[in-house]
């Protein structure tokens, strides 16, 4: 293919893309709107929409063109995001009206909070230690090893504490929620709950969301503290930094903005982890294989979403506090 052919091909592709993009986008919105008429307005209607979501979608792929396939994929993604958003809103609304399941919430706090402590402590110690090892070499070049406490403290409280805690809790609990709720869906326990007159979103999802939103910030505080302890141990043993010097600098380097940043992010991360985990579990299709898929999806999506949210939150909080 000559240069002119290649540019003609690119131009042609661009024209086709420009012409088809609005069609795909419009199709997406139409299907998403059609699904949203049912999705999570209530569970019975969600089941109804799920029954009929498929015929609407393969309709386009029957033409087996690239645009149809792309449109199909886009529609599914838009519909899934919409479904997730509506479920989250519904769970939020449940928080403002009885009945409340406080015992279930306490149980979930124990599972998410106390259950995650061992991995948080081990990971915190390691990461704090590694931070000192990596930064000490640089500071030694300038004879400023005293700044190690500042570096470890800022890195942990502002960024690493919330992010790593979110990833660990996501790996442990989002997967747990997805597999537990998914198994309940597959074995008709969720339907049985509805048949007994209990709202599964209120009974199963809300306690998990509240527990995770409360526990992730606390786990982050533990992670930060343990990380600083790990950093101090390594600084003391390798750089011969005194306890007073390390801790004074570590604490003084932090201002209120850092602390707010370090405690705001985990709240959002907790919300993402719990809602994604519950969404993946409650939307399981395809038996035990589907439960396995939902578990993997829950971990991947909640981790990625937490990291993306981390970027935007950092930008916003830096703007607010600097």
């Amino acid at each position: 293919m000559g240069k002119s052919d290649a540019s003609r091909f690119r131009l042609g592709t661009l024209r086709i893309g420009t012409a088809l993009a609005p069609k795909i986008f419009r199709g997406c919105l139409l299907d998403a709107a059609r699904i949203s008429r049912y999705a999570f307005v209530d569970s019975a209607q969600a089941a109804h929409s799920a029954r009929h979501a498929s015929p609407n979608m393969p309709e386009a792929s029957a033409t087996s063109s690239l645009t149809a396939v792309l449109g199909d994929v886009l529609k599914r993604q838009v519909a899934a995001v919409q479904d997730y958003t509506l479920l989250t809103v519904q769970a939020m609304r449940c928080m403002f009206s009885p009945p409340y399941y406080w015992l279930d919430t306490l149980e979930q706090m124990d599972i998410v909070g106390v259950g995650s402590l061992p991995i948080i402590i081990v990971a915190g110690l390691s990461i704090g230690g590694v931070l000192v090892l990596q930064t000490a070499a640089q500071f030694q070049r300038f004879g400023e090893t005293a700044l190690t406490g500042d570096a470890v403290s800022l890195a942990l409280v502002r960024e690493l504490g919330p992010a790593v805690t979110a990833l660990l809790v996501s790996g442990r609990n989002a997967s747990g929620m997805a597999s537990e709720l998914g198994s309940m869906v597959v074995t008709e326990q969720v339907d049985a709950m509805r048949a007994l007159g209990t709202d599964p979103i209120r009974k199963l999802m809300m306690p998990r969301v509240i527990a995770t939103v409360l526990m992730v910030p606390l786990l982050t505080v533990v992670f930060d503290f343990v990380g600083l302890c790990g950093g101090f141990l390594v600084a003391y043993s390798t750089l011969r930094l005194g306890a007073v010097q390390f801790w004074t600098r570590a604490i003084n380097s932090l201002d209120i903005g850092d602390v707010v940043q370090g405690l705001t992010k985990p709240v959002v991360f907790g919300l993402i982890i719990a809602t994604v985990g519950c969404y993946c579990g409650l939307r399981v299709r395809g038996g035990t294989q589907g439960v396995g898929r939902a578990t993997t999806t829950a971990v991947v999506i909640s981790s990625v979403c937490a990291l993306v949210a981390d970027f935007f939150l950092s930008r916003l909080l830096l703007y607010l506090f600097q």
Binding site: D42, E188, D191, A192, L196
Partner: protein, 313 residues
């Protein structure tokens, strides 16, 4: 099949109605399906299904796997919505009711799922008391009611066991106890004998029979076993003696009696339970293929229906 759809009483709002205020009226159809259509992807599973279940009646839905029996049970409980048509339960249109109202309404319906669907992280006692705790009933009364329900299904010894520790038949019995614990006027049994051995199946049918005759339960029962239909049609639970007795009482029992008396039954010679009639509805290819009292099924000349009878012999 077309039917006149009864007008809905708009004054009946169940959103703020307690379970015990939802009353059934004798003689009134407690469950009515009107021209119900339900499809999945490119296949229409139910094609214009219409039938009524009267107060005190036991309607047995017979059909092969995949004919939509479970679907009808879930429609009646409002767990799924039809594509078109109406589903009325105790006068309320559950196909149009919002989920919030349905949750309250479902407390007046018992549902026995095919595999029991017991909450596997809870003990038998917690499973049975689930609905009562949701209603914030007094703990002493809860314990009393749970024991009574488990005694009814002869599972009182398993109070603190988990579902994983129980056999398939025991799980069904606990599931029946869970459905009956709040004494609902309507109970939906979704293939309660599926996958069970004949002896255990007979035990389950006896429990359903006891529920019908002692608690005056109106039931919709899905099954692929014709024996279940005849068991319910030909026997009753005698409260005085505490035993199950045959309605015809000729010394033979169960299906053997039923099959031996096909001709007699076809002529309407069998004694029928006057207050709790058992009717059979056979589903085929998404439509109602046969609907009549259970005895009439015995005298059928239809080849398809004979297959069901042959499977029971």
């Amino acid at each position: 099949m077309t039917r006149d759809v009864p007008p809905l009483d708009s004054s009946r709002n169940v959103a703020n109605t307690s379970r015990h205020e939802i009353q059934s009226v004798p003689g009134e159809a407690l469950i009515s399906l009107h021209d119900v259509h339900v499809g999945f992807e490119d296949r229409e599973v139910l094609q214009g299904i219409s039938f009524d279940v009267a107060h005190g009646e036991t309607k047995v839905l017979l059909g092969e796997t995949g004919t939509g029996k479970t679907l009808i049970m879930k429609l009646a409980a409002g767990l799924i919505r039809p594509d078109s048509g109406r589903v009325l339960v105790m006068g309320h249109d559950v196909s149009e009711m919002p989920e919030k109202e349905l949750l309250n309404f479902r407390r007046s319906i018992g549902f026995v799922f095919q595999e029991g669907a017991l909450f596997d992280s809870m003990t038998v006692s917690d499973n049975v008391s689930f609905r009562l705790r949701e209603e914030a009933m007094d703990e002493t009364e809860i314990e009393e009611r749970v024991r009574e329900a488990l005694r009814f299904v002869e599972m009182e010894h398993a109070l603190e066991k988990f579902p994983a520790d129980l056999s398939g038949g025991m799980r069904r019995r606990v599931s029946i106890a869970r459905a009956l614990v709040d004494r609902p006027p309507v109970v939906l049994y979704d293939s309660p004998t599926a996958g069970l051995d004949p002896v255990t199946s007979q035990t389950i049918i006896t429990l359903i029979l006891r529920g019908r005759d002692l608690q005056d339960v109106t039931a919709l029962l899905a099954t692929h076993r014709v024996q279940d239909a005849f068991g319910l049609a030909n026997f009753r639970f005698d409260k005085a003696s505490g035993h199950v007795v045959a309605l015809a009482g000729n010394g033979k029992s169960g299906l053997a009696q039923s099959l031996a008396e096909r001709e007699e039954a076809a002529d309407g010679g069998r004694e029928r339970n006057p207050t709790q009639p058992t009717n059979v509805l056979v589903l085929r290819d998404g439509k109602i293929y046969f609907e009549a009292p259970a005895d009439e099924l015995l005298g059928t000349k239809d080849e398809y229906l004979k297959k069901f009878l042959a499977s029971a012999e």
